[in-house]
């Protein structure tokens, strides 16, 4: 009889390598984060060509740029910026994460592995000025992907703020056999406690860098509003893995 190893699948830990996992098991608690969210309308043709087939656009189509400044997390401090497109799965309002950059390699791996987050290496700089906030999202090497400026900043009510639930497309590796796992949609499972929110007018300019950072592809047609808020974040194990096409 073979002398099998003793480690069960459940004992492998949250990720491999088994002896030195990059990140701990969830929940991931991230107190004292800052979230800046810009909401803007986007072109109808673009969103139609970009959303997965199981997701419907809103009327009007809109998207968000969400910047996370996280001083404390299981991966250490990190900053992330994500471009999303608003969508409906059945009757639920969600955002589909189109692309993101993260400045921390462990966070990058964790978000990609756990949430199928379409994250790539990059940087996020935030500068608080006199009544203004400036933010630059950049690809490695410094090419700007998003240049943001918040102005006319004023207080807002936390209970009026909506940070949309995120969906990503989980595309499993293809095998040479016919036993492919189906593409699924994954809902990022996170909770927020928001405090000290503000809202602001804003400007944003998206530009692409090479063929892997196509941030300039998003056609912004009308600006809505920005919010800038403190938040305690908590990510929990996945609850919703959704069929690519919703049930009829």
């Amino acid at each position: 009889m073979p002398d099998y190893g003793l480690v069960t699948a459940e004992e492998l830990g949250p990720t491999t390598p088994q002896l030195a996992p990059l990140y701990p098991a969830m929940p991931w608690v991230m107190p004292g984060a800052r979230i800046i969210k810009l909401a803007y309308e986007v072109g109808t043709d673009f969103i139609r060509q970009t959303l997965p087939a199981g997701l419907a656009r809103s009327t009007p189509p809109y998207g968000t740029l969400v910047v996370y400044d996280v001083p404390e997390s299981p991966f250490g401090p990190y900053r992330m910026a994500a471009q999303t497109l608003a969508c409906r799965y059945r009757n639920f309002a969600r955002v589909y994460v189109l692309q993101a950059v993260v400045d921390n390699p462990v966070a990058l791996a964790a978000f990609r592995e756990v949430w199928s987050y379409p994250a790539a290496p990059g940087t996020v700089d935030i500068a608080d000025g006199d009544g203004e906030v400036a933010c630059v999202v950049a690809a490695p090497g410094g090419a700007a992907l998003a240049t943001v400026r918040l102005t006319e900043i004023e207080g807002a009510e936390a209970e009026r703020l909506v940070i949309d639930g995120e969906l990503t497309a989980r595309v499993p590796p293809r095998f040479s056999t016919a036993d492919d796992e189906p593409v699924r949609l994954v809902q990022v499972n996170r909770a927020f406690a928001l405090r000290d929110p503000a809202r602001a007018r804003f400007s944003v300019k998206f530009t692409s860098a090479g063929d892997r950072y196509l941030w300039g592809a998003v056609p912004v047609t009308n600006l809505i509003i920005a919010v800038d808020t403190k938040a305690d974040l908590e990510y929990a194990p996945t609850e919703h893995v959704l069929d690519y096409f919703p049930p009829s």
Binding site: S58, T59, P60, I224
Partner: protein, 386 residues
């Protein structure tokens, strides 16, 4: 209790002029039948840019057509949006007066403001200001109808002394209402002495406190018009069938179709943290319901099922003090027209008589029907009708 139809004027894709014409013909056939069957009211929304969900962007034109094709049914703006960028208040007053004349005094003037970014963003309106804009126009319009010479000077519009003509047929003016989807707006309706046009589709248990509070506050109101219009309407679904299972299947299709359309819109709260919009709104409730499965779509108080089921539901609404029920009878033409018309006929034959026995005609304003229970229109100063 009064019964009315409520029209969103939704259109299934593909969206073509022919599809809009088809929707118009179907809706007109429904309202003409409702008029013949003795329904009291019909109401129509005002929405802009809400493709599929509602193509009622010029309700005054549709209502004018209804007025020309019907005899008795009251013609309701449900609502006319009182935001100057949509409708200059003087134009609203002029068009409403004309509609009252064309309909021979059958207008119900429902008012409100938008709750979607889709619409407010399209017109470039500051969401923080919509409540104030609505209130400003609401207070001005009755004066335009009643004063020989009107003038106004506010943050939102001004007008030197002018004669706003014509004056409405109903004197001193048509009944005023506001669309209500939050407790706060119900209170504001009561404070202003205007009707509560409940447009959130809830259960009697959810609405009971709101109606009770409305009744309490309106007793000491400061009316914006010449009289107090103390009436509480509520929105509901209607599909009546002798076969309960078939009725429920059709009702579920109706609700699911409406919910799917409604959730495509973008509520203000979804994208814009505005203090003037302090409830999550209808969309969140619809989303919650959509996950509960089809059977859970039909809730307590919904007018779906057999005639006896619907009578029982309406008794529940009557018991909480509701004066009128406005029915959504189709969405995106998901129910075939003949079945919609059959449902209306069955309702008129089997249900309506149970609630009409105590109705009386208010002779002060021809066409107004008040029940002996709750609703009443209390004149403050009434001039003789022409």
């Amino acid at each position: 209790m009064k019964f009315g139809l409520f029209f969103e004027l939704s259109v299934p894709r593909p969206l073509t002029p022919a599809a809009d014409r088809r929707m118009y013909e179907l809706a007109l056939e429904q309202v003409k039948l409702a008029d013949e069957l003795g329904f009291d009211q019909m109401w129509t929304v005002e929405h802009h840019f809400l493709e599929e969900y509602s193509h009622s962007s010029a309700p005054e034109l549709w209502l004018t057509s209804v007025a020309c094709h019907t005899k008795n049914i009251r013609i309701g703006h449900g609502i006319c949006t009182l935001l100057p960028a949509y409708n200059h208040p003087i134009r609203s007053a002029e068009r409403a007066a004309w509609l009252d004349i064309i309909s021979n005094g059958r207008l119900e003037f429902g008012t409100g403001r938008s709750t979607t970014w889709t619409e407010l963003g399209g017109f470039g309106i500051d969401p923080d200001k919509t409540k104030e804009m609505w209130d400003d126009s609401l207070r001005a319009i009755p004066k335009m109808w009643m004063q020989d010479e009107f003038s106004w000077d506010s943050e939102f519009f001004s007008c030197p002394p002018r004669a706003v003509v014509p004056k409405p047929m109903q004197q001193p003016h048509p009944p005023l209402w506001v669309a209500v989807s939050s407790p706060e707006t119900a209170t504001q309706a009561a404070e202003r002495g205007i009707g509560m046009l409940g447009v959130s589709i809830g259960t009697p248990a959810e609405q009971e406190a709101r109606v009770r509070e409305y009744r309490r506050i309106i007793q000491n109101c400061d009316p914006v018009g010449a009289f107090v219009n103390e009436q509480a309407n509520n929105l509901n679904w209607l599909y009546v069938d002798e076969d309960r299972d078939r009725g429920h299947r059709m009702g579920e299709r109706l609700i699911a179709s409406f919910n799917e359309l409604a959730t495509k819109t973008v509520g203000i709260n979804q994208v814009y943290p505005a203090s003037a919009y302090n409830t999550p709104g209808l969309l969140f409730a619809l989303r919650r319901d959509s996950m509960a499965g089809a059977k859970a779509l039909i809730k307590d108080g919904f007018c779906i099922g057999t005639p006896d089921d619907v009578i029982a539901s309406l008794r529940r609404w009557e018991s909480i003090g509701c004066d009128g029920i406005m029915f959504l009878i189709n969405s995106k033409q998901t129910i075939p027209q003949e079945q919609v018309l059959d449902s209306l006929r069955l309702f008129a034959r089997e249900v309506m008589p149970k609630f009409k026995e105590s109705a009386t005609v208010d002779v002060r304003r021809p066409g107004i029907v008040t029940t002996n229970g709750h609703g009443k229109s209390t004149p403050v100063s009434v001039t003789p009708a022409p």
